[in-house]
């Protein structure tokens, strides 16, 4: 069947099977060239294999929960949305969540996803106690920080290339309500934006929406949203009796592909202008439901169709702290001058890498952009690549659909070490994605 990542760019014919027991899965592993796929939310081709894509959503059982430690053991196909709807009413929330709740546990581990609290708490892998991994021989090994620790580190952020993640144990945190106390801080330019991140390092959650079309004195102007889990006392009186039940939001769906011209420089510029003015006018404190705060796009089902039939590509890099200011300025100037518009542009301060050998984060700033797939976009992205490399930045593989093996290696010396480990462990033949072949991982 035709398969693509969430960006819907460059669909490929892939054989997809959905095993529901370990024996069937073992037979798939023996065939080789396998990549496990969760809910298909990575943007590019990381969860696609032409010959052997394995849909893991048949493994979706929650197995045990230790309410003392907040420790949940679940199969890898369990959806984050199910975890939240099951445990939030009991006062638990994931320590780390990406920007969508329609991802699987296995996908979160494979991409070692980060959230708006990365600067304080690290990535998802920081809260994983162990992983049951099916290796190239079909054997299931339990890996953790003490047992098979090299394999554990390579699996966190390893994009499914070290084996099939079957089960994992990870931790949830106590929360008093399902609401977030939010503060919006408008900033006028890049210097202010970066300073604001530093000034709010102690905020649990922080992220900036950045107007990537602003230029000149306004280059890098942003709306920074800070968040804290609200206590019952923070809630409006009417919500205090049901503190875990924010008002249900209406689900909207984008029913068909938008025409390619719907998102262009002018519509995005107009939107950005209004959005910034509105945000700046409304700046200050508010209390928001968890789903609206963490997953604003999930309420628009299939929002990826907004970019039309040819799909879109994400560009996400992280620049180290020392070079971030200069690098971001150059990236933003280049984008602004290109005439191309990124509808979503997000900036976030990240903390150190953590335990995953291939994990994306490093101490610095990450910029995430998306552009409709087009020749002009790819030309722009090559220019952005040069800037990223010059400033010591590196790429988020879960977002990538178009890097070359060369560019990856120039940005990330870990890629060669990862490939060596895969070769030494006999993993390269058994586990491969279109991305791993493209990037020679």
């Amino acid at each position: 069947m035709k398969l693509s990542g969430w960006g819907r760019y460059n669909p490929q014919d892939c054989r997809v099977t959905r095993p529901r027991d370990e024996d069937t899965l073992r037979a798939r592993v023996a065939e080789g060239g396998l990549i496990a796929r969760g809910n298909g939310r990575s943007y590019g081709d990381s969860a696609m294999s032409g010959s052997n894509t394995v849909d893991m959503r048949g493994f979706d059982r929650m197995l045990s929960f230790d309410a003392e430690a907040g420790q949940l053991v679940a199969e890898s196909g369990v959806m984050l949305d199910d975890i939240i709807t099951t445990f939030l009413p009991r006062g638990w929330f994931p320590w780390v969540t990406p920007g969508t709740r329609y991802v699987t546990l296995g996908g979160m581990i494979a991409a070692d996803v980060h959230g708006k609290n990365h600067h304080l708490h690290g990535s998802f892998g920081a809260f994983v106690d162990w992983i049951d991994l099916m290796g190239p021989d079909g054997q299931v090994r339990r890996c953790g920080p003490l047992d098979n620790s090299d394999l554990f580190a390579a699996t966190l952020g390893g994009m499914g290339l070290t084996g099939v993640i079957l089960r994992a144990s990870f931790r949830l945190r106590r929360v008093e309500t399902g609401f977030i106390r939010q503060e919006t801080v408008p900033t006028a330019n890049l210097t202010e934006t970066l300073a604001a991140f530093e000034a709010h390092q102690s905020a649990t959650y922080s992220v900036a929406w950045i107007d990537c079309l602003a230029s000149g004195d306004s280059l890098g102007r942003s709306l920074i949203t800070l968040g804290e889990h609200a206590s019952v006392g923070d809630l409006p009186r009417r919500n205090r009796t049901a503190p875990f039940a924010p008002p249900a939001r209406k689900k909207r769906i984008i029913p068909l592909d938008a025409p390619g011209f719907a998102l262009n420089r002018h519509t995005v510029q107009a939107f950005n202008h209004l959005y910034y003015k509105r945000g700046a006018a409304k700046s200050g404190h508010s209390v928001t439901g968890w789903d609206e705060y963490f997953y604003p796009l999930d309420s628009i089902l299939a929002w990826n169709r907004m970019y039309g039939r040819r799909g879109f590509v994400q560009y996400q890099t992280v620049l180290p702290l020392a070079t971030a200011a200069a690098g971001l300025r150059e990236l933003l100037e280049t984008i602004s001058a290109s005439g191309l518009a990124s509808f979503l542009a997000v900036l976030k301060r990240l903390g150190p890498q953590g335990r995953g050998m291939m994990s994306f984060p490093m101490e610095g700033h990450t910029l995430a952009l998306d552009f409709p797939a087009s020749r002009a976009t790819f030309a722009l992205l090559r220019r952005l690549d040069a800037i990223t490399l010059a400033h010591g930045g590196r790429y988020y593989l879960a977002k990538d659909a178009r890097l070359t093996a060369d560019t990856l290696r120039q940005s990330d010396p870990r890629a060669d070490r990862f490939h060596q480990l895969r070769s030494a462990e006999g993993l390269t033949r058994r586990f491969a994605s279109l991305q791993s072949e493209r990037l020679y991982l």
Binding site: M1, P19, R20, R61, M62, L63, S64, F65, T86
Partner: protein, 245 residues
């Protein structure tokens, strides 16, 4: 608020598990009945964790009809809803050439489910209420060369459910016949099924839950199957017999 219990027969099947999940989500205690029921420990853990309902595992062999009465006695109070998700596709060629494999398919899809549901129906009739759900198949709507042993057993089961519904209509016991069409399960793994005609187990479970609450009689999970089968049933036999279906 205590909800009445739901019994799932053939609980290891993907549809059976999905139905269990759907009813557990509404707070119903669940009884998972299957052979080697201990292997359902993970499924039980999942239902308990997600929905905080009581889940019981019960050893049950649909072909051992002599054990059915004792099996029901062992469950304690008669459940409010009994769902049979039991089925065996078998191998058509093997069934054509071996009476034993044909008998296994016929017994697994018709004789066995009819025996246990019949026993449950009698007890529900005495009690004066209850719902019986039989998962049959569109394959029973017309025999085709590729799977007529399975299809004929399902045809028998469909007719049996229809008769049971007729018999109990005035006795407070409701009978639902489910015709799922293609479903993406272990049973169909490896088959090349058309996506638009293929349901996920969760969709079947949703349709069954709706049918039980709304007291529907016969349901096709995907509405398009009603049309497809109407056409297939109405092809004149002289034409039909020459078709490759």
């Amino acid at each position: 608020m205590t909800r009445p219990a739901v019994l799932i027969l053939g609980a290891r099947s993907d549809i059976g598990l999905a139905v269990a999940r759907r009813f557990a989500a509404e707070g119903h205690p669940i009884i998972l009945a299957a052979r080697d029921s201990a292997s359902l420990a993970d499924a039980k853990a999942d239902l308990v964790l997600r929905h905080s309902v009581a889940v019981t595992l019960a050893e049950f062999d649909v072909l051992d009809t002599a054990s059915h009465a004792a099996f029901l006695d062992g469950l304690g109070p008669l459940p409010a809803v009994a769902v049979s998700a039991i089925g065996l596709m078998g191998d058509q060629t093997a069934s054509e050439h071996g009476a034993a494999s044909a008998a296994l398919v016929i017994r697994s899809n018709f004789e066995g489910p009819a025996a246990i549901l019949g026993e449950i129906a009698n007890r529900m009739e005495v009690r004066g209420n209850g719902t019986i759900v039989g998962i049959s198949s569109v394959a029973g709507d017309r025999g085709r060369a590729t799977n007529y042993i399975y299809g004929s057993a399902k045809a028998g089961f469909t007719a049996w459910l229809s008769g049971l519904r007729n018999r109990l209509a005035k006795k407070g016991v409701h009978v639902v016949t489910v015709l799922p069409g293609f479903v993406d399960t272990k049973m169909t793994a490896g088959m090349d099924l058309p996506a638009k005609l293929t349901a996920q187990p969760g969709e079947v479970a949703e349709a069954i839950h709706r049918a039980v609450t709304r007291k529907r009689n016969v349901i096709y999970v995907k509405p398009v199957w009603q049309l497809v089968m109407a056409i297939i049933r109405n092809i004149p036999e002289p034409v039909f017999k020459r078709l490759k279906l």
